[in-house]
Symmetry: C2
Subunit: 96 residues, 2 copies
């Protein structure tokens, strides 16, 4: 399933900047960055549960926000893009 993950981390403090880097790193490991704080991740339920657990262990729930959007398996019909950074297909085979 495709899970869209968006986040807002309060970066007015040094610890906030550190949390932001950690959240981004976790997401980079699990999916495709499509915008600064927006990732599309193809995950099975177990992988999602693990990522969610890690992310929620990093953020400060009083000041930071995480949102998950479940786009299912029919996600290709649910996404439109305009502008910079061309779209990609996370199910495509990587050609080297």
């Amino acid at each position: 399933m495709l899970v869209l993950i968006t986040y807002d981390v309060n970066v007015t403090t040094e610890s906030g900047k550190s949390r932001l880097r950690k959240v981004a790193k976790q997401c980079v490991n699990c999916g495709q960055r499509v915008q600064n704080s927006v990732f599309e991740c193809l995950l099975d339920p177990t992988q999602f549960a693990q990522l969610k657990h890690r992310l929620e262990g990093i953020v400060d729930p009083k000041t930071d926000s995480l949102r998950y959007y479940f786009l299912g398996s029919n996600w290709k019909k649910r996404i439109e893009h305009f502008g910079a950074k061309s779209t990609y297909d996370p199910e495509d085979v990587l050609m080297i």
Copy 2:
């Protein structure tokens, strides 16, 4: 239908900052800001087409990015939130 709109606007220039303000203003008029650059908008197809037209007239497609995610009518099952800013129901009646 619920349309999730996310954007990245290049704000390294004054004109970029102006575009960002204009994009945010259009989105605020049409939906609920759930994160800094993430809006959830309950729109019919005509309203969506109009908003899309306005947004794409504002951004610079060479440097800025807009993404639309169509969460359909069954969107409540597709969203999870963690942390700051409590969730809300855009279909709720506003009580004053």
